[in-house]
């Protein structure tokens, strides 16, 4: 399933949980794992100064510094690297989202794993230069699925079995479904939970619906799920279907908790990066922030891979 995993990391504890998930997956699927640390954001115009994202200090860039940081990153993940031989470590200089995307483009990973953001305002080297977060920009533009572990609670210890696939019935969701199916059928004892939340927020509908109307919608969604997805499962019968009403991101987080999900798979459709409302825009971003398991985001670029 996963042959080549890219773990993009700040090499700080903000990414520990993501690293744990990445190495778990790499162990489970015998994958090659590339650790990439973008060590510094260029600063001072055309000068050779960078802002080290770990220390927040402005330092002159040279080969020694790069080599030193590379060693630091290797030391940081020493135990994991020892336990998983097929690991390589790289460092890059630049804006993190751009360098991660550049590396991904050159090395074609089949999964990018990202941790939570470094929220310490003093470590804001990641954020201050170009508006919009690293996470937003990568989930928008990556050419492969992106797995995000935003909260410590979202990292798993014991493998994957319960997979929640959240759908809004878009074309992009169809792709996410293919992906979810691929994962669930490639693991032992996998269970697929197909979920849709009917959005009842007044901002969305513009009017309040009667419960009968809502329930009609729920029924319709259930039959859509059967037609669109179940028909494709062909003999795989460890699945469940649920349709709830509410605020989609809240409902999916609750649902995942109830199902003890190990993974949520959703499609990411946001077209623009909204700098000031970073991470508050879409359902996807809300789910990433709140979920207590890793979330895989599939964007439109990824779609081509599964069509």
């Amino acid at each position: 399933m996963f042959k080549n995993i890219l773990l993009a990391t700040s090499a700080t504890n903000a990414c520990d949980h993501a690293a744990r998930v990445a190495f778990e997956l790499a162990g489970l699927f015998k994958s090659h794992i590339s650790i990439l640390h973008v060590l510094g954001v260029p600063s001072r115009g055309f000068s050779q100064m960078i802002v080290d994202v770990r220390t927040g200090e402005t330092v002159p860039l040279n080969d020694d510094y790069k080599a030193w940081v590379l060693e630091e990153v290797k030391n940081y993940y020493e135990n994991q690297i020892k336990a998983h031989n097929d690991t390589e470590t790289n460092v890059a200089v630049g804006f993190p989202h751009r360098e991660i995307l550049r590396y991904a483009r050159e090395n074609n990973p089949d999964l990018i794993v990202l941790g939570g953001s470094t929220d310490d305002p003093d470590l804001s080297g990641y954020k201050k230069n170009i508006a919009g977060t690293t996470l937003q920009r990568i989930t928008k533009s990556a050419q492969c699925p992106v797995l995000i572990v935003n909260r410590p609670a979202a990292s798993f210890w014991g493998g994957i079995s319960n997979i929640v696939f959240g759908t809004d019935f878009s074309k992009a969701s169809d792709v996410s479904f293919q992906y979810a199916k691929k994962i669930v059928t490639s693991i032992n004892d996998g269970e697929l939970h197909i979920f849709h939340s009917f959005d009842i927020s007044s901002a969305h509908t513009g009017l309040s619906l009667s419960q009968d109307e809502i329930e009609d919608q729920l029924r319709e969604a259930r039959s859509k799920i059967r037609k669109r997805y179940i028909s494709q499962l062909k003999g795989f019968n460890k699945y469940s279907i649920d349709v709830w009403e509410g605020l989609p991101y809240v409902e999916i987080v609750k649902y995942a908790r109830e199902k003890q999900a190990d993974l949520i798979i959703m499609s990411h459709q946001a077209r623009e990066v909204i700098p000031d409302k970073a991470r508050l825009g879409s359902n996807m971003e809300q789910v990433i922030m709140r979920a207590n398991c890793p979330v895989i985001s599939i964007n439109r670029h990824t779609s081509a891979l599964f069509e």
Binding site: Q48, F95, R102, K128, A131, H301
Partner: protein, 462 residues
């Protein structure tokens, strides 16, 4: 000591020597060697005799020492009105002295002159506007820089920068292949959002040849994508060139006249090869000055003009908005207090003061654009121009120089500062980092992208 291995009178000619110099972290050895570097007084005097023409000689001669330039200089104002920061003093005590002494100056003098040329002047040319005799100290400072460069007394980063232009014909180690490849990458990334988006390469006879700053390729290629998107939305017939695409010139900041010529000729060659109707450069002030205003003279062009008509990006934006090629969704206009930082290099050096204000009338909801005071051709330098931003040795002085702009911005009450210039953009970013006044800063492109109407044929199907 004669010349050092790192600090010497020789320009960087090869990739190898460029890497060696880069390897000297922060120029530690370089500056040590500079302390020992002899002044080649004969060379200095003969260079002056050959290159210091009547304009500069006249200017030096007719300066009445009236002090009218003092208050015009941001360095004078932020340094407690130190008489040594009066522009006339700065140029008379350096270039004036070198000429008076017929080049017989020593190492200590050259160190003083280097600091004056790069840490006490950003070549913003504001003083020239206030001199009753029309003397432009900024231009003379540029000339002084050339003399200093020729003797090896140039800040480390600028020796490297000029070397980059000599080796790569770009201000950073970005090759022609890197450039074209990055454009292809951006087309891939953005074409789903903007159907049909691509970068025409080496198209002959296009209406527009677009040139850029190598940093866009290296660090923020989104800027390239945004330029392409806007050209496509506007329905322009445009192209990039696979060779001669770098508009900027750190060589100009360094005073490396030969590299200035090499760089600008590479762009002019592209113009002559592709024969576009006009060239439009990215949002960069000094690059415009280098390629459009000064370049023709470096390249020895008799008409004093580039091979084709050249426009700064702001001119194209204004034209596109005026003619309706780009249409702004009125609901998406900026509805917060916003100000603009114009680059000295397109304002005082190229008279574009009305253009950005015209753009603001389209992009900003009436009542929300607050001009800085003073503004237009009287606007102050961002505090980081002329290469100042990138010089580690003068970081403290540069941070101090940002104060004028900081206070100008604070007085507007704006939280968003638009800066259609890489240098100003950098300086304002650093200003926020240094003084934390709670502002955001942006080029025009990302703001435009958010508010322009995308024609139907470019909209994604789903």
């Amino acid at each position: 000591m004669p010349e050092g291995t790192l600090c010497n009178r020789q320009p960087i000619q090869t990739e190898e020597s460029l890497k060696t110099l880069l390897g000297d972290t922060s120029g530690e050895q370089y500056y040590k060697q500079m302390k020992e570097l002899d002044v080649d007084q004969n060379l200095l005097w003969s260079t002056i005799q050959k290159t210091c023409k009547s304009r500069i000689r006249t200017w030096l001669e007719i300066c009445a020492h009236c002090g009218m330039c003092a208050e015009s200089c941001l360095f004078y104002l932020i340094n407690d009105r130190d008489p040594k920061q009066v522009p006339a003093y700065k140029i008379q005590s350096t270039l004036g002295e070198i000429i008076k002494r017929k080049g017989k100056v020593d190492n200590e003098f050259m160190h003083m002159a280097m600091k004056t040329a790069w840490a006490k002047c950003t070549c913003c040319n504001r003083c020239g506007l206030y001199c009753p005799n029309g003397i432009d100290m900024g231009v003379m400072m540029g000339y002084l820089r050339g003399l200093l460069y020729g003797q090896g007394f140039v800040p480390w980063e600028l020796k490297i920068g000029a070397g980059m232009h000599r080796v790569y014909q770009a201000q950073m180690d970005v090759t022609n292949e890197d450039f074209v490849e990055t454009c292809e990458w951006m087309a891939e990334e953005y074409e789903e959002d903007y159907v049909g988006l691509h970068f025409p390469v080496d198209k002959e006879g296009a209406d527009i040849l677009y040139t850029i700053n190598a940093r866009e390729v290296k660090h923020y290629p989104e800027d390239l994508a945004e330029a392409a998107v806007l050209f496509h939305i506007a329905g322009e017939d445009w192209t990039i060139t696979s060779k001669g695409w770098e508009l900027t010139s750190l060589a100009m900041f360094a005073g490396d006249w030969e590299a200035c010529k090499i760089q600008v000729v590479s762009v002019y060659d592209a113009m002559e090869r592709l024969k576009p109707k006009r060239m439009i450069g990215t949002e960069c002030g000094h690059a415009h000055r280098a390629t459009v205003v000064e370049g023709p003279y470096w390249a020895g062009r008799e008409d004093g003009l580039p091979p084709v008509k050249c426009m700064h990006y702001v001119e194209w934006v204004a034209e596109a908005l005026r003619t309706g090629k780009l249409q702004i969704d009125p609901d998406k206009r900026i509805k917060e207090y916003v100000t603009i930082q114009d680059s000295c290099n397109y304002i005082r050096n190229h008279g574009l003061k009305k253009i950005t204000r015209e753009i603001m009338t389209y992009m900003v909801e009436p009542g929300y654009f607050i001009d800085m005071n003073p503004n237009e051709e009287h606007n102050y330098c961002c505090g980081g121009g002329g290469g100042f931003n990138g010089i580690g040795l003068y970081r403290k002085e540069r941070n101090q120089a940002l104060i004028t702009k900081r206070d100008q911005i604070l007085k507007t009450g704006a939280k968003l500062v638009i800066a259609p210039c890489h240098n100003c953009w950098d300086a304002i970013r650093d200003l926020e980092e240094e003084y934390k006044i709670g502002i955001r800063w942006s080029f025009l492109k990302p703001l435009l992208i958010k508010m322009v109407k995308v024609p139907e044929h470019m909209q994604p199907k789903e």
